[in-house]
């Protein structure tokens, strides 16, 4: 099979970090990612199935990894070499379409009894991601035993797979995983009737806008978006007000009728959801949240230094939001699987339209660079298109003697 493989190589990681700091996404050219022909991974147990990806998205966390900006925190939670790709719609051997829920929780790892989080369905909080019969790997796409979506085949546990309704296009389906992240972030703290600010309007930000609007029932939803197309989409998806980053403080001040001291607001938004995860975005979040407000860190953070004095002084709650699992009951809704809510949201908000471009695996360098600059280029989600690629890819690989 053909796959993009990420190997452990300190020299290449250093090269990717250097290249990625010059041009975002350039790490794919110089880093430890390569296109290879591999044997298909063997299913580790009877409940495992082979999945042939159709579309596999490129996520912000993938970009951070490829550009060498990711946190070393994850090192013991992944196993090398791995095939990236955790936003996947694929096909089983019987032709059924499935979406992957990539978290490798207790059930997939054969851990019995499951940890308390998995027992409750909160697989994102699994306490056994480095244990069980699989090598470490918090998700498919970071585990050496399973393969990943940036390939022509990988294996997944039955519990990780969700059937795709016929009404869903492949583009709709590949948006389910990022949408599930957004749903989880949007429901991480109560937002009903609140002034909510979403910082960032890439894939995660836009899905969060849709999730907050439809599931969180905010009083006012303000979105901070850098690029014109992002601003247009944020409005379409339900933002009440969309502002550029430099206008965020003014906009929140005006909405809250706050005073300001040397540019710092005295009041602020009830909830801020940071869908970027940078030092700048977190500082912005702390600058616009009200005293005793809540900041949800949804975008995967890079390692950075930041001044937490405002968090301390204003008694702000900083809440992380990672992945998915189950969501607590809310008005008119019982406890629900995050993915079930994500399927509904993708259909309701038409999030398949956020897929802006697809590439074959062979053009992975372009794909990654495009993904890293998608906002600037008027795009949102970039994905690999593996439909029909298996045969040609393998033929080409054989022809090249690989």
């Amino acid at each position: 099979m053909r796959a993009l493989v990420f190997e452990r190589s300190l020299a290449k990681v250093a090269a990717s970090r250097l290249a990625g700091s010059v041009v975002p996404g350039r790490g794919a050219r110089f880093g430890p990612l390569r296109l290879a022909s591999l044997s298909e991974p063997e299913p580790p147990g009877p409940d495992w199935m082979r999945v042939r990806p159709k579309l596999a998205g490129i996520c912000g966390s993938d970009l951070a990894t490829l550009d060498g900006h990711g946190s070393r925190y994850f090192e013991p939670l992944v196993s090398f070499p791995f095939v990236p790709g955790h936003e996947v719609v694929g096909e089983l051997d019987d032709g059924a379409r499935v979406v992957l829920e990539p978290v490798l929780g207790c059930q997939a790892r054969g851990v019995h009894p499951p940890c308390p989080a998995c027992a409750q369905g909160d697989t994102g909080d699994c306490e056994r991601v480095a244990f069980g019969h699989l090598r470490p790997g918090l998700q498919t796409g970071y585990c050496a035993d399973t393969g990943g979506g940036w390939s022509t085949a990988f294996v997944a546990h039955r519990s990780q797979l969700h059937p795709v309704p016929d009404s869903f296009s492949d583009r709709d389906a590949v948006m389910v995983e990022p949408t599930a992240c957004a749903v989880h972030g949007a429901l991480r703290v109560p937002t009903e009737g609140a002034l909510v600010v979403v910082i960032g309007a890439g894939t995660l930000g836009l899905c969060t806008v849709a999730a907050v609007r439809r599931l969180g029932l905010p009083g006012t939803l303000v979105v901070v978006a850098k690029h014109p197309e992002q601003r247009r989409l944020a409005t379409e998806l339900g933002a009440d007000l969309v502002v550029e980053p430099q206008g965020a403080r003014r906009a929140v001040r005006l909405q809250t009728r706050s005073l300001a001291v040397d540019g710092r607001l005295t009041g602020g938004a009830d909830v801020v959801i940071d869908c970027v995860g940078s030092a700048r975005s977190l500082a912005d979040a702390l600058a616009v949240v009200r005293p005793r407000g809540q900041v949800v860190l949804l975008g995967m953070p890079e390692p950075f230094r930041t001044d937490l004095t405002p968090l301390w002084h204003r008694e702000v709650a900083l809440v992380g939001a990672y992945a998915y699992g189950s969501e607590p009951p809310a008005a008119g809704r019982a406890r629900a699987r995050t993915f079930a809510l994500a399927f509904e949201l993708v259909a309701d908000a038409g999030l398949g339209r956020l897929v802006s471009a697809t590439y074959p695996l062979e053009r992975y360098r372009e794909a990654v660079e495009h993904a890293a600059s998608a906002g600037r280029q008027g795009g949102v989600k970039v994905a690999f298109d593996l439909r029909g690629q298996r045969a040609t890819g393998e033929r080409r690989a054989r022809g090249a003697g690989a």
């Binding site: 007000l241 502002v243 003014r250 906009a251 005006l254 009728r257 706050s258 005073l259 300001a260």
Partner: protein, 529 residues
């Protein structure tokens, strides 16, 4: 030789290019043959002895007023209110006419033994004046005599303890004005009547009023029915102010109005070409034009702005009258009209105008896009009596760089107005209904208005409303040489050259349109038959 009246020139192929103001600079533009250019009258002769003219006016008041000296007595409470930094434009060479008048009033007050005297800048919702601006308007002697003792005040339209509600007019309009002024035995109001819109009851009823009071006439409906703002008999804005002024008088508040008029000698001699007719330019004028244009082209915008705002106008006093408000203002208007009125026959399809660097609300500041709109569509468009210079459905072409730039201290609410309100709608009625109250009562804007040098939160709304009549009347507005994004944000069309603008305008008004250029400043008032 007496000054020549204004007139309308019809251009032909031999007509030299026409001067268009363009912010901190100017351009020579060639108008299509057959276009009309409305030139202002030349500056009227100044009164020979301004100080004596002031003394005479105070001693021989108009209407049923007694001479000022007879109204002054020991133990009385006297408030002398004066027009703020928005007048005159550009600021005049010292001594400012307010200084002359106030010194004369203070002399009489001192002679009468009045010792409870306060000077008050009639800011309305404008920004507070800086010390330098107050010193310029009042002179150092007056400033030093009052400011250090806390007797030089600036009207605060948001001071809950500094306002008094005088009830409502017959039309239900709240009349709320400055408490110190209202509780004085006499208000002496010192005005500068640069254009016909100024003065009269508007001085006290607007200059010393609160938002609660102002909103009755500073609104879209009133301004759409002020046709024009320069014609008080056809201006709802004035009608409302007159009702309020009469209500104030009926409340027992006595106002002694002193109005002054200035001639249109607007620019200093080194810029003499700016107020000469192009075909009369001397070799020196042409050389100055070329030299200044070349120099400005190389000057950074911020420096150019600073140079222009340092211009002090040679404006000279043409009349001063004092006494009862309405009688005084009627006489004032005669002088204003004598200086400004130009008869114009018929309307035009396209009205062109070159907008200068200054308007009443950016003295020592930045002409932001909202103020460009206000100057063009609020002021220049309204420089008419009878009918608008441009026909209904016609096009206004304004020339101005229209930078997307705001003075953060002076115009904080303008930034939000431009970013958030105009991004959503440019319709004055929708803006008023949806956003005005929130901006007007925003505590941060109120704080900045009261303690910093910020225009009130609602001020950008008023600027937009000022152009509401024009927006309702016109088929399109085109801005030549403006920041494209800023122009579009306001719902106008950008054009890079006048020729392009004229072609775009023809798409709106049809082929072979009539074109009229309003050659201002210096200011004029078109009497359109």
């Amino acid at each position: 030789m007496s000054p020549r009246p204004g007139f309308v020139l019809e251009t032909d192929r031999a007509t030299p290019p026409t001067l268009f103001w363009h912010g901190e600079g100017w351009r020579l533009e060639r108008l299509p043959p057959g276009s009309r250019i409305v030139y202002p009258p030349e500056p009227m002769e100044a009164v020979a002895d301004p100080d004596e003219a002031v003394r005479q006016a105070l001693a021989h008041p108009l209407g049923d007023s007694e001479p000022l000296a007879d109204l002054l007595r020991p133990g009385m409470r006297l408030t002398i209110a004066f027009d703020d930094v928005s007048l005159p434009l550009p600021p005049m060479r010292p001594p400012d006419v307010r200084q002359r008048v106030i010194e004369a009033v203070l002399e009489l007050a001192a002679a009468a033994g009045v010792d409870d005297v306060v000077l008050m800048a009639a800011l309305s919702l404008h920004r507070r004046m800086t010390e330098a601006e107050l010193r310029h308007a009042l002179g150092h002697r007056v400033y030093e005599a009052f400011a250090p003792h806390g007797l030089l005040l600036q009207h605060d339209a948001e001071d809950p303890d500094g306002l008094v509600h005088l009830g409502c007019t017959d039309a239900g309009e709240d009349v709320e004005i400055n408490k110190r002024a209202a509780t004085s035995d006499l208000i002496v109001y010192v005005n500068i009547n640069l254009v016909a819109m100024d003065g009269g009851h508007k001085s006290v009823a607007t200059g010393l009023a609160s938002y609660r009071s102002l909103r009755h006439h500073h609104n879209v409906r009133t301004l759409q029915h002020s046709r024009s703002l320069m014609d008080e008999h056809r201006s709802e804005l004035h009608t409302s102010n007159w009702r309020m002024g009469r209500h104030i008088a009926a409340s027992g508040i006595k106002v002694f109005q002193i109005e002054t008029t200035l001639n249109t000698d607007t620019f200093p001699s080194q810029f003499a070409f700016l107020q000469r007719r192009e075909w009369e330019w001397s070799g020196r004028d042409r050389a100055t034009y070329l030299a200044t244009s070349a120099s400005l082209a190389r000057t950074p915008a911020r420096l150019a702005r600073s140079i222009f705002h340092s211009i002090r106008s040679p404006h000279a006093l043409t009349s001063v009258q004092a006494g009862e408000v309405e009688a005084v203002h009627a006489r004032t208007l005669e002088h204003v009209h004598r200086q400004h009125v130009v008869p114009v026959e018929g309307q035009t399809d396209i009205l062109t105008m070159g907008l200068p660097y200054i308007c009443p609300y950016n003295v020592n500041s930045i002409m932001n896009p909202v103020l460009v709109m206000c100057l063009g569509l609020g002021y220049f468009f309204n420089l008419y009596r009878g009918k608008p210079l441009v026909r209904a459905g016609g096009v206004v072409i304004m020339s101005h760089p229209t930078p997307w730039e705001f003075h953060p201290v002076h115009h904080p609410s303008y930034i939000d107005f431009f970013d958030q309100v105009l991004a959503e709608t440019t319709d004055p009625l929708e803006i008023e209904a949806k956003f005005e109250e929130s901006f007007a009562t925003d505590p941060w804007y109120v704080h900045l208005y009261r303690t910093s040098y910020a225009y009130h939160g609602v001020h950008p709304f008023y600027m937009w409303y000022w152009g509401a009549h024009a927006l309702q009347h016109l088929g399109a507005v085109i801005v030549v040489g403006g920041d494209v994004a800023a122009v579009r944000r306001m719902g106008f069309k950008p054009a890079s050259t006048l020729r392009d603008a004229l072609e775009m305008a023809a798409d709106v008004v049809g082929p072979d349109p009539s074109v009229t250029h309003i050659h201002a400043p210096p200011l004029l008032l078109a009497d359109v038959e």
